[in-house]
């Protein structure tokens, strides 16, 4: 351990550490992009194109930007962007699910109201 404290080696050690961290970030970033893409697919399947357009668009833009960052070898940005894309896609899916549930609830309530009015009319 002592040898690392020698001033001359600090720069090399640091460079090596950054290099290793950088390398470790390559698969991590790519893996995160793959996970985020699956999450985006799920969000699309939930109907986020219709119910959470903005969030879906944001996720898609960030995944593109993440891939660009990989190409630029900016792996930290790539991972951050991909993580954000995943969060945006998860939100898009949640928004689509809640919008769909609210739509069904509203339709059922309206049809109940109509049915009730009809029943009351018939009873008179």
């Amino acid at each position: 351990m002592k040898q690392f404290n020698r001033p001359g080696n600090i720069g090399i050690t640091l460079a090596a550490a950054i290099f290793i961290a950088g390398c470790a970030n390559i698969p991590a970033s790519k893996e995160q992009i793959a996970v985020s893409k699956v999450t985006i697919d799920n969000a699309v399947n939930e109907g986020s194109r219709q119910f959470a357009e903005q969030q879906l668009k944001s996720a898609l833009e960030k995944i593109d930007a993440a891939e660009q960052a990989i190409a630029d070898k900016d792996y930290l940005s790539a991972r951050h962007l991909a993580e954000q894309a995943q969060a945006d896609a998860q939100l898009a899916a949640a928004m689509a699910r809640s919008a769909k549930a609210r739509k069904v609830a509203r339709e059922l309530q309206e049809s109940n109201l109509m049915l009730q009015q009809e029943t009351e009319r018939n009873a008179q």
């Binding site: 930290l76 951050h80 993580e83 954000q84 969060a87 945006d88 998860q90 939100l91 949640a94 928004m95 699910r97 809640s98 549930a101 609210r102 069904v104 609830a105 059922l108 309530q109 049809s111 109940n112 049915l115 009730q116 029943t119 018939n122 009873a123």
Partner: protein, 252 residues
């Protein structure tokens, strides 16, 4: 206890925030904390999206640790962003669950309305059957059209007899699941057959499908249990209600 929990959770969050003196240094994290505290005061979120909001809390904790370690603004902003989105996910999840509860309520209510409707229908049918003096017999619900509803020794219905057939047609048109069997009892089999057909024709004329009407004419060969034998002064026509599979109905 429920109320206490809602009060305590935001207080705990505030304590957490104020305990961490450095949050003020990062505005995105401060914003995320404020949203988090707001979400914790919403019982809908703490009840219906407990897992989602706990995940947001975990991200904020992670951000705190990062801040205390002196990590870069980028790293903290990233965690703050993820926490902010996770809070929004919790809010949407709560809305979704609320809507799902509303759906369950609406379905229960629909069944209730259906039940009321069915009761009202049953009541209406009972009233109409009562007007026709329908009675339960061994063979089912039976409506009797007396001889005096027909012209003497003819197959023509008098206006009063016709008005009874109108009421019967009304019931049959409203409740398509019921079929009728028309049985005429006269001293003369030819007259019996013609009277049954007269009622059948009248019902068809009023919109009842012919397939739902069975007719038969009897002379005095088939006396009905509990009734006097057919004679010149004792002739009648019976309308027996059955369901579509031909079973006689005892009641609605």
């Amino acid at each position: 206890m429920q109320n206490c929990r809602y009060l305590l959770m935001p207080l705990a969050a505030i304590a957490l925030v104020s305990g961490c003196c450095s949050t003020a240094n990062n505005s995105s994290l401060t914003d995320a904390y404020n949203s988090y505290i707001g979400a914790l005061t919403d019982p809908g979120i703490t009840d219906l999206a407990a897992i989602e909001i706990t995940q947001a809390g975990a991200l904020l904790d992670e951000a705190d640790v990062a801040l205390n370690k002196g990590e870069s603004d980028d790293a903290i902003d990233q965690l703050a962003y993820l926490a902010k989105q996770q809070i929004a996910i919790a809010q949407e999840t709560a809305k979704q669950k609320t809507a799902e509860l509303e759906i369950a309520d609406a379905i229960a209510k629909r069944k209730q309305i259906g039940l009321v409707e069915k009761n009202a229908e049953t009541e209406a049918v009972k009233q109409q059957l009562k007007q026709l003096n329908a009675r339960k017999t061994g063979r089912g619900l039976t409506i009797t059209l007396d001889d005096d509803l027909f012209r003497a020794q003819k197959a023509q219905l008098k206006p009063i007899g016709l008005s009874n057939v109108v009421k019967l047609a009304d019931i049959l048109n409203q409740y398509s699941q019921y079929n009728v069997s028309i049985e005429s009892h006269s001293i003369n089999p030819g007259l019996s057959g013609r009277r049954s057909y007269a009622v059948r024709r009248a019902l068809i004329g009023m919109g009842v499908g012919g397939g739902r009407i069975r007719t038969s004419g009897y002379a005095d060969t088939i006396p009905v249990a509990g009734t006097a034998a057919v004679s010149q002064s004792n002739q009648w026509l019976e309308v027996i209600l059955s369901d579509a599979s031909g079973r006689y109905l005892s009641e609605f």
